[in-house]
Structure formats: structure tokens, C-alpha cells
Amino acid sequence: MRFAVAEDHAALAAAAAALLAKEAGPELVRSGWPGGSPDRVEAVWRRLAGLGLPALLVPEQAGGLGLDEDALTPLLTELGRSGLPVPAVETIAVGAPLLAAADSPLLDRVMSGETVLTASHHPSAPVPFAARAELLVLRVGEQVRLYERGEVVLEPLGSVDGSRALARVAAPPGGGVLLAEGPRQLAVVWGRGVLGTAALLLGLGERMLDLTVAHVRERRQFGAPVGSFQAVQHSLADALVALRFAAPAVLAAGWAQSTGQPDAVLRTSMAKVLASDAARRVARTAIQCHGAIGCTTEYELHLYAKRTWALAADWGDPDRHRRLIAAELGLSEEGTANDRT
């Protein structure tokens, strides 16, 4: 028993965090929004690719790092913290390992960051980053297939988080290339997507809490820092509790997946419930404790809050995951298959 991130996994996450701290400030996050310059975002993504991020779950013989879900969680937490608007879960957790398994000639371009890929496990929901991606990994019936942009019909949509480049996608069922099929393979795709999203949410929550703590230490009202008032202190303490008890669940789910534990499905849903609820709670608390400036788009907080709301609903919202857990625990008969999309 050793409940702590392995040294090499922590080192990779720290390398990514250092690069992101230097290159990906709030202005870069804004440039992913409509009217910005997504090229700047993609340049940073290519530098992250230089550290091997998209290659994390790709086997070494295919040119990847050959790591597992245990390494995925600390890394994606850092990406979440940065707010960088890139398809990190879609590429690192879902797309790249599928391309590797299918021996796709497009894998190298995805691993180098030259080609933007996105993925979705929901047959009809809007697809994040679809409006920016050249490759789309999509769920079609009981299959996951790879499409090039020219093969699908896109209907761009506004998103609560403008940097998500959201679009509704119509893909021809017979087109594209088969990447995965059947319940077992689909479960792996689903599990990794859910896990990665939970890790992003954790990082977002930590970022918003840090911002808020910094703000309430500085901001003075009634002649004192607002962070010295008990009402403010206590709601921030509750926010920290929510995050600190979600984080171990995310790590545990990563370990459970990487070692093929029988309860990995349960642990993964737990991680998504706790991380989504914690990050949403922090977002709400952060806006409240910032006061009026938290209700603007001039200040950076909204960038992370909106990403939180988008991700809490993606890859199964907390209620859906609670239903899945209920089914696993024998508390309901319905639900499993339909909920896992």
C-alpha cells in the first residue's frame, strides 16, 4: 500500500506544469475564445507534445511513453489547472491510444501535436473542439470510428465555455475507420474519458480556489481583508474540504484502471461525481467570494468556472454517474447501458 503519486508520474506532471505556468496564462486561455487566435494555443499544445503528452498511453513500440492511467491523472490535473483550451482528454486519454491500437498512420501527427484530434463517446451530444479538429473520434452505434473533418457535417454551436469550439457533428455510419467496438473496448474508452475529465476538474477547482484565496487576502472592506471574515473563511474551508476529498478518489480510480481492478468502473464514476461536484462548488464559492469582479468577464475567474460547468456535464454528469453506481451496488435494475454513453 502506498497512496501517493509515483515519482516519475509526478515528474512528468511537474514538467508540464512548469511549461504551462510559463506559456499559458489567462491571456492564452482567452485566445481560444471566438475572435482570439487559436494558433497560439496550438503552438503551446505542440510544445506539450514535445514532452510526450499525447503519447502518454501509446505503447513504446508505437513511439509512445507506454505509461498508464495511473500516470494520466496527475498530468491532466495540471492541464485542468492551466485552463488551456485543448482537447487533452480527447487526445491523451482517448484518441491517441485508439489510433495506436488500430495502427493508424495518423498517429505520429497526433503525437507531435501537428494534427488536432477530438473525441466523443456520446452518439448525439455536441462534440467539444469539433470546430477546430482535423480528426474526430466518434461513437457510432456500438463502435468508435475515426473520421477526417471532410467526412462529417459540422454545425458549430455556442458553448458556455467559448473556447470549447463546440459543434454538433453528423458522421456517416459507414464512413471513417473502425477503432473500437463491443462492450469491453467501449468500456475502456469510456473509463479513460471519464477519469481524465475528473482529473481536469480537480485542477480547475484548485486553480479557482487559489485565485480566490489570493483575492480575499488582498481585497479590503470595512478596514480589513475580506478573507479575515469568518463567513468568507468558512465557505472557502468547505471548498477546500470538497477538493481534498475528491482528489484521492481520482488517483484511486486511475490506479484501479491501470491495474485492471474489478471495481474500476465504480471507482471511476465515484471520481467523476466527487470532482464535478467539488469543482462546481468551488466555482460558485469563488464567484461569491470575489464579489462583483467575479461576475465579470474582464477578470480571469470566468474562464475556469465556465470550463468547469462544461466538463461537469461532459462524460456523464454527476447524477448519471450516481445512477451507474446505484446499478453497480444493486440499488436499481435499469440504467447501465444507456447511462454509459
Binding site: 501517493a4 509515483a6 473563511q233 474540504v241
Partner: protein, 382 residues
């Protein structure tokens, strides 16, 4: 990350499980917070001791089993899973003993720990006073040195003392220096409740059991050797071990994992299933798991020597906030599942009334939130 148990740990778990299965009283004992129930629990404590399970993580020389922290965690899990009796010795074994191990002289350790493990001495905690609850540093009970007799004369009142009417001893904080204020002039005393000048009056808790007591002290003599950690050091000794009370020592995850399992059983057994309460049942179960996972990280930190001192003390406030709120939610959900049966006296309704004291004892949750805000988040003090 490695969340697997070693073969030795698995063997330890099996051994504990087998022993508990063969020895846990069935039907369960009456409440240990009543006079009759306490006597039955005392028998159980001695049974535990004879088999070497009373204080598994202590060294053998003091009546323990030399178990690792991990094994202790496994024992706790098995203990609650087996539905074993509440530990009436807990305030000694889980609260006083950590202070004795850290601050006690070898003589104090040899004299007090084996008797504690064997349930010959049963310790109550004498911290709160009528005017000093959350504001513990407002303690007014005093101790005056008696040079001639090599000891102290204690006078004052302690209150809300758990099982004080049934215990044999009390550990408590007393003001030894009237000249200095607040947390500075306090000392930590150990004394028997049958000492001349001590009067104990039991009174009922919220759930009706006589679980509380007032302890009145009128010029009670305590020898010098029964000061723990040095004269004037009471606050440091008490604070250094509050982590035990707020954190995982007193409230290990096994307790809540078991409660969550009981809740699942209840939900499955209802004729219409969990019905509209399903999400709350699931959420409570999730949070019990989350508490366990959090503590695994904490124990890793302790084992690897990463968590020490003040930080670890403040971290235990996170535990306390989480388990106390979780305990209430578990019980509220169970009572709602029971519907019109909820009113009938039973383990959930009694448990609920006890759970409500969780956010109060060991420092109210308001105090804990302030500690988290100031020490973990670094927010400014008022």
C-alpha cells in the same frame, strides 16, 4: 500508487476477522453509555486485551501487538464490519495514549499504559468546563502547588465528560499559573476519580443515555509525577494530540464504511427499494469511500514521515469536518428510507442523535473551519 495489501497484511486481516467472528457478542451489548451496558463493555474490553487486540498498534511491552499503522487500519475496518461493541476505553487508548507516548516519562508509560490496555484503568477526558467549550483556553479550574507534599491541589469543575460517571480516571487541563493568560499557564494532569475531593455526577446526553458527567474537584491532591509533559506545557501537549481526536485515530474509515454498508442493506431491503432516496444513498456511500481514500493518503504520509507537526494537526480538521458531516448524512438518509418507521427507537434513530454531536465535540466544526482557513489556506486572522 499501490493500493494492494501485502500477503502479511492480508494474513493479519484474516486473523482479525476470524477472531472477531468467533468472539463478537451476539446479540449486541446494551449501550456502553449506561451503567449496565458499561459493565458488559468492560468484560468485552478485557476479552479484547487477553487476545491481544485491545491496542493493536502499541508495543507488546505495553499490552499491544506491535501492529503497523496499516494493520491498525485493517483491524479497525474488520472491527466495525464485525459489528463489534463500541470501545468504552477509546478516550484512553485513542486520545490519552498518543500524548503519553509522545510526552510521557518512561516511568509514566510503564505505570499507565499496560493498565489502560487491560481496561483496569478507564480514562475520561476532562477538558471542557462550563465556561470553556470551544474556547478551551478559557479554562478556570486551577492547580496550586503544594511544596510540602510534592504535588498539586486541584479545584474546579469539568463538564460534558464522556462516560465520566463510569470511568476510573480522568486526564485534564488545569491552570497552574494564574499570572499568565489563556493557553500559557496550563498543565496536563492525570488523576483517579476516586481521589478525595472528587465528586462525579452523571447526566444524560441528547439520546437519553447517561453518557455525560460533571466532575467537581475540591482541593484534590495530585502528586508531581502525574503531570504530563511538564508544568506549563498543558496547551502544547493537548494541541499536539488533538489530531488524534479530530483525525483518523478516533474516527477511522472502518466506522463509516460499515455505516454505509448498513445503509445499502437497508435500501435494498425496503419493499420499494431506495425509491426517491437512491441518489442520497449512493452519495453517502461514495463519501464513506472518499473518507477511506483520503486516510490512505494520510497514513502513507505518516509512514513515510512526510506529515509532521502543525500541518498534520491542521490537516486533521479536514478529517473532522468530513466524517462528522458524513455521519449525519448517513443517518438522515437511513431515517428517510425508514419513513414512518423512523420514529421507532432503534440503531439509526439513536445513532442519529449521537451523530449530531459529531460537529460539536473535539472542537466544533466552526472552529475547524477557522483552523482550515487560517492554517491550510493561509487566510488572515481577525
Amino acid at each position: 500508487m499501490d493500493l494492494s495489501w501485502s500477503p502479511e497484511e492480508q494474513a493479519f486481516r484474516r486473523e482479525a476477522r476470524a477472531w472477531l467472528r468467533a468472539n463478537v457478542p451476539d446479540p449486541p451489548l446494551p449501550s456502553g453509555d449506561t451503567r449496565a451496558g458499561f459493565a458488559a463493555h468492560l468484560e468485552w474490553e478485557r476479552t479484547l486485551y487477553r487476545a491481544g487486540w485491545a491496542a493493536v498498534s502499541w508495543p507488546r511491552e505495553f499490552g499491544g501487538r506491535d501492529a503497523t499503522l496499516w494493520q491498525w487500519l485493517l483491524f479497525e475496518e474488520e472491527y466495525y464490519r464485525a459489528g463489534a461493541p463500541q470501545r468504552i476505553s477509546q478516550n484512553g487508548i485513542f486520545l490519552l495514549a498518543p500524548a503519553l507516548f509522545r510526552f510521557g516519562t518512561p516511568e509514566q508509560q510503564r505505570r499507565l499504559l499496560p493498565r489502560m490496555a487491560a481496561a483496569q484503568d478507564l480514562w475520561a477526558q476532562g477538558w471542557s468546563e462550563p465556561g470553556a467549550g470551544s474556547d478551551l483556553a478559557a479554562i478556570r479550574s486551577r492547580a496550586v502547588h503544594d511544596e510540602a507534599s510534592h504535588g498539586w491541589r486541584l479545584t474546579g469543575q469539568k463538564t460534558w465528560t464522556s462516560r465520566g460517571a463510569f470511568c476510573t480516571h480522568v486526564f485534564g487541563l488545569f491552570r497552574t499559573d494564574p499570572e499568565v493568560e489563556r493557553h500559557r499557564g496550563l498543565s496536563y494532569f492525570l488523576l483517579p476519580l476516586d481521589a478525595p475531593g472528587v465528586t462525579v455526577r452523571g447526566f444524560p446526553r441528547l439520546d437519553g443515555d447517561e453518557g455525560f458527567a460533571d466532575i467537581f474537584l475540591d482541593d484534590v491532591f495530585v502528586p508531581d509525577r502525574d503531570v504530563l509533559g511538564g508544568v506549563g506545557q498543558g496547551w502544547s501537549v493537548a494541541m499536539a494530540t488533538t489530531g488524534s481526536e479530530r483525525g483518523l485515530t478516533l474516527r477511522s474509515p472502518g466506522r463509516f464504511l460499515h455505516a454505509a454498508d448498513r445503509l445499502l442493506e437497508l435500501a435494498r431491503a425496503r419493499p420499494d427499494g431506495p425509491g426517491g432516496h437512491r441518489d442520497r444513498v449512493v452519495q453517502s456511500w461514495i463519501e464513506a469511500q472518499a473518507y477511506q481514500l483520503f486516510t490512505l493518503g494520510q497514513v502513507t504520509g505518516l509512514v513515510e514521515g512526510l506529515a509532521e507537526g502543525r500541518q498534520a494537526g491542521a490537516e486533521s480538521s479536514l478529517n473532522k469536518l468530513y466524517w462528522s458531516e458524513l455521519d449525519i448524512r448517513l443517518h438522515e438518509t437511513a431515517l428517510d428510507l425508514l419513513g414512518s418507521e423512523a420514529e421507532v427507537e432503534g440503531p439509526w434513530s439513536k445513532g442519529y442523535q449521537f451523530a449530531l454531536s459529531g460537529p460539536v465535540y473535539a472542537g466544533t466544526n466552526e472552529i475547524q473551519r477557522t483552523i482550515v482557513a487560517e492554517r491550510l489556506l493561509g487566510l488572515p486572522r481577525r
